[in-house]
């Protein structure tokens, strides 16, 4: 795309350039995740009560914009979920999964409530205490992972229930039923109470923290070291990053953020009272995971994703009015997380749209159609004797991964997953990095996801042409 005249016509099209922009493709695949969540939510609304399903779906879409106060409300109530998103991002970027954010959130909330009711401490002290407690609770799975290599997912999930029970014991014994928080213990609204009853400075603090986290991760050596293990273990070890230190730091900071989120939720003016109990984990921390995954762990992206989740949460009171449960809103978050896991697949799908090669994508992803289905979908009659150009494309890409490169124009299609039943040996699923950056190199990297093996292939190497 250097000069317009030298570029082939098809590469000048808007669609092509869209497919080449990593950010736009990421953004579109995020939208696909959200749409999937909303569509499945609609299906469940229809199952529950077909009569008022569309009214409830309308509430999901419109509650956040029901008026000026609603707009302000969804913006300022995004603070806790943003902190939870940042908490998950911090470990996610380091290649770890902190599913212990519910536990850290509860412990932060617990200590903040105790500080506010029992000691009448000012809000900033309570928030700092919550941060420290969350950090300590986060430290435990971090230490276990660093020094005993305990699976951090299982240990952090177990500590969720430990924190839930300890918070139950703590609150029923210390504060009792009286949990009214007043005066200096409420987070300051900075004299802006006309923006909304529940407005507090927490949203501003959360956004500032998000920007700081972004600067730390992207612009400092410490942030680079933290992300090094997430992207390439071997390289990180080679440059001398201490794995143990990074794990502990990631978990402590993550826990601290989740603890702050707990304080932000229950110290906000007009906040609901925490009901100590032994069974249900709070659902907000899981929404935080959705926030982080929607933003692919990017802290700035988390701000917008948190606004979105907060917007969707605005519909909960209106939905209960229509006879639906809270679960109808929670399931959207679950589906969004589920579809976020398919990020590579959605990216390749979005790219296939722009290259007008959607059916190739479908074929390599879902599997081979039989001729009849193929005809019904594409209108093309497959002749067994004549080779299908789409088949060529697949064979080319499959060949290229076997070191037997016949790089053709067709193979430029950015297909992330290749599967072809006719090729016995090649029936492995292989991801080929055909991004613009990799195109400039002389080598392509193909990551075999199934085995996590990395091997390099020469492109256009005459020695490799025509068989092994």
């Amino acid at each position: 795309m250097n000069s317009k005249n030298n570029t082939p016509k098809n590469k000048r099209s808007l669609w092509y350039r869209f497919g080449q922009s990593e950010r736009l493709v990421s953004f579109s695949s995020t939208l696909v995740s959200i749409l999937a969540g909303l569509l499945v939510a609609l299906v469940f609304l229809l199952i529950t009560d077909a009569g008022s399903a569309f009214a409830a779906f309308g509430k999901i879409l419109s509650s956040g914009f029901a008026g000026t106060s609603a707009v302000f409300e969804f913006i300022y109530s995004s603070a806790p979920v943003l902190m939870l998103g940042l908490a998950f991002s911090f470990t996610y970027k380091a290649g770890l999964f902190n599913f212990g954010t519910p536990g850290q959130y509860i412990s932060g909330a617990c200590i903040a409530i105790v500080a506010a009711t029992l000691w009448n401490s000012p809000w900033y002290v309570a928030v700092v205490l919550a941060m420290i407690t969350g950090g300590i609770v986060g430290l435990i799975p971090g230490l276990l992972k660093a020094y005993f290599n305990v699976n951090e997912i299982i240990s952090s999930l177990l500590f969720d229930w430990v924190a839930l029970i300890v918070a139950f014991l703590c609150l029923t014994n210390i504060t009792g039923a009286d949990q009214t928080i007043s005066g200096a213990s409420l987070i300051t609204n900075m004299g802006l109470s006309n923006l909304g009853e529940g407005f507090s400075a927490s949203v501003i603090i959360a956004i500032v923290i998000a920007v700081i986290v972004y600067l730390f991760l992207e612009k400092t050596a410490g942030g680079f070291e933290l992300q090094a293990f997430g992207s390439n273990k071997l390289a990180a070890k080679y440059i001398g990053v201490s794995r143990k230190k990074q794990i502990v730091i990631a978990f402590v900071v993550s826990g601290a953020f989740a603890g702050i989120a707990g304080a932000f939720t229950y110290l906000a003016p007009g906040a609901s009272i925490y009901q100590p109990q032994l069974i249900h984990l709070p659902s907000l921390p899981f929404a935080g995971i959705a926030v982080s995954l929607l933003a692919s762990g990017n802290p700035i992206g988390c701000i917008f994703a948190a606004l979105l989740i907060s917007y969707l949460n605005m519909s909960i009171p209106a939905m209960s009015g229509l006879g639906f449960t809270r679960a109808n809103a929670t399931i959207i978050i679950g589906i969004i997380i589920y579809s976020s896991a398919f990020i590579q697949l959605t990216k390749s799908w979005v790219r296939s749209l722009n290259k007008k090669h959607f059916f190739t994508w479908l074929k390599v992803t879902i599997g081979d159609f039989n001729a009849k289905t193929y005809k019904a979908l594409t209108g093309i009659v497959r002749d067994k004797n004549r080779k299908d150009p789409l088949d060529d494309e697949i064979v080319e890409i499959a060949n290229s991964t076997m070191g037997n490169v016949r790089y053709s124009k067709n193979a430029e299609v950015t297909t992330n997953f290749i599967k072809h039943k006719d090729l016995e040996k090649e029936s492995k699923v292989i991801e080929i990095d055909l991004s613009p950056a990799a195109k400039d190199l002389d080598t392509y990297k193909a990551n075999d996801l199934a085995n996590e093996d990395i091997f390099e292939l020469k492109r256009n190497d005459p020695k490799n042409k025509g068989g092994k």
């Binding site: 599913f99 177990l158 229930w161 430990v162 014991l169 679960a327 997380i337």
Partner: protein, 325 residues
Amino acid sequence: MSIALLGAFLSFFIAISIPLILISYGGMFTERAGVSDIAIEGIVVIGALVGLLVGNGLESAVNSGFSSQLAVLISIAAAGIGGGLFSILLGLAVKRFHANQNIVGIALDIIAPSLFAIMVFSTNGQTEISTLSYAAVSPSSIGLGALPTDSFLHSLLFTSLNQLGMVLAIMLIVISSVIIFKSKFGFRLDACGKNPSAARSLGINVDGTLFGGVLTGGVLAGIGGFVYALIAFNSFNGEAAGIGFIALVIMIYGKWKPGKITLASLLFSFFISISTFASSISWLPSFSGIANGYAIYKLLPLLVAVIVLIFNSKPEVISQRKKVK
């Protein structure tokens, strides 16, 4: 500790170990297929949901003369199908579309209780569903009506062990051990999970075998979830309170082998029984100075699980893997 209480304790101890073993076996099958089974908690809830919905649906038929134990067996089958269908969501995502298994797992863990709440709410308008009142076998129906209610035998047999579904569950435990060690599928699952390339070179349908492993795991975990709900709750509200993750710890402790998993399940079912019976066992400290002191014992299985994890984790080795041609 009275003799009847001891009987009740033993009854619960044996009864609760059966779903634990089943759920851990479910995790074992899934992990042998090379999928980390974080979704097991969700599968447990879905198994319980489907089983209880079908079981409650059959209640009117039972009242009009349909065999109650047959209804329980149908519910168990339904729970297995439900768990299997839900695990397809995991298997397809991970094995077919190569999605991140941890994220898919936690997503299914979130979806399952929401699905439970939605389905139960649309059925009976409540947040809970009662666990089959007709499932229990009464002493008189098997000719033990003369047994005094405070005797050891009565409390052992008719507190928690009084369900014929248990027999099916125990049979399933035996069958799945045989599948793992003696059947072609078990060997192939092992081969495909450990070295897919080698298995493929022998002409084994690797994807199909691994998917079969995930599906079998889902069926077992679903049945385990249903049996767990029958034993541990009077009415189930869709929160398994970490039982799935404890089952994962059991599986790790049992080194992914049926025999060791069974022993490890007994250990954990002992601690779960202690936490359930803590308030009625007199020689345990009662923490009378603390309100709701019984909740302290609920920490016991979780903390034991963490300790077990510490002693059963291998140090991480970061090394260059061998290149694949």
